[in-house]
């Protein structure tokens, strides 16, 4: 599953597809495996809590999606 996700993200990248990743609202102060896998290739990495910026430096904090 994780491998497929990575392949999909990299393939998309090669084709010039933009990738926006939104980290789960449930991640308030912890890392997520899915996020770690796609982090290097995504164009925008959006975080919903300020604290996770520690783990994901390029995270764009926009507050909660709800």
């Amino acid at each position: 599953m994780a491998l497929q996700l990575r392949q999909c993200a990299f393939l998309g990248k090669l084709l010039g597809v933009k990738i926006v990743f939104i980290l789960s609202y449930a991640r308030i102060n912890s890392k997520a495996l899915t996020a770690d896998i796609v982090y290097p290739v995504v164009d925008k990495f959006i975080i919903q809590w300020q604290d996770v910026k520690h783990y994901y430096a390029k995270g764009i904090f926009l507050g909660g999606i709800y």
């Binding site: 609202y25 449930a26 991640r27 912890s30 999606i65």
Partner: protein
């Protein structure tokens, strides 16, 4: 009526039900208890077990409920908080096999500080929370949806 939300995650979450059942048995809880039980299988003399409830009906039940007791899953919690309900929230914990990790603890503590609900932490008795909740007024949920939506719309337009 007390509505209990256990979510739809694939592992069982029995701890809250065991405590609620005890209080029903003791007569402390005398009102109807409806449980959205998901993948938790438990037979009860007192609680109505409904594994999955469609969203529309669930919202109605939530509206009718006097108290909502919920796992600390974001969607379940926010649904109830947005309706202004008095919520008692309990985290699914990985050490009991209730979830894959302890992210629900993060939500529990964050939302507790925002005064959205009463947290039901380990070694706290449910009956004391049920007493406390009568005088508890939850903070109104502040939605931030437009900000993130506008950002995405602007980004897409810029491509």
């Amino acid at each position: 009526m007390i509505l209990v939300l256990l979510g739809t995650f694939v592992t069982p979450f029995e701890r809250p039900l065991i405590e609620i059942e005890k209080l029903c048995e003791a007569g402390t809880i005398a009102e109807e208890v409806i449980v959205q039980s998901g993948h938790t299988i438990m037979t009860s003399q007192y609680m109505v077990m409904r594994p999955f409830i469609d969203p529309k009906e669930l919202t109605e039940l939530c509206r009718e409920a006097r108290i909502v007791i919920s796992h600390a899953g974001a969607a379940s919690l926010i649904g109830a908080i947005q309706l202004g309900k008095k919520v008692i929230a309990i985290a699914r914990l990985s050490k009991y096999g209730e979830h894959v990790d302890d992210h629900q603890l993060e939500i529990l503590e964050k939302f507790a500080t925002l005064n959205y609900f009463l947290p039901w932490r380990e070694n706290v008795a449910l009956d004391s929370l049920l007493n406390e909740i009568d005088d508890f007024t939850p903070a109104a949920f502040v939605s931030n949806k437009p900000r993130i939506m506008n950002y995405l719309a602007d980004y897409i337009d810029s491509l």
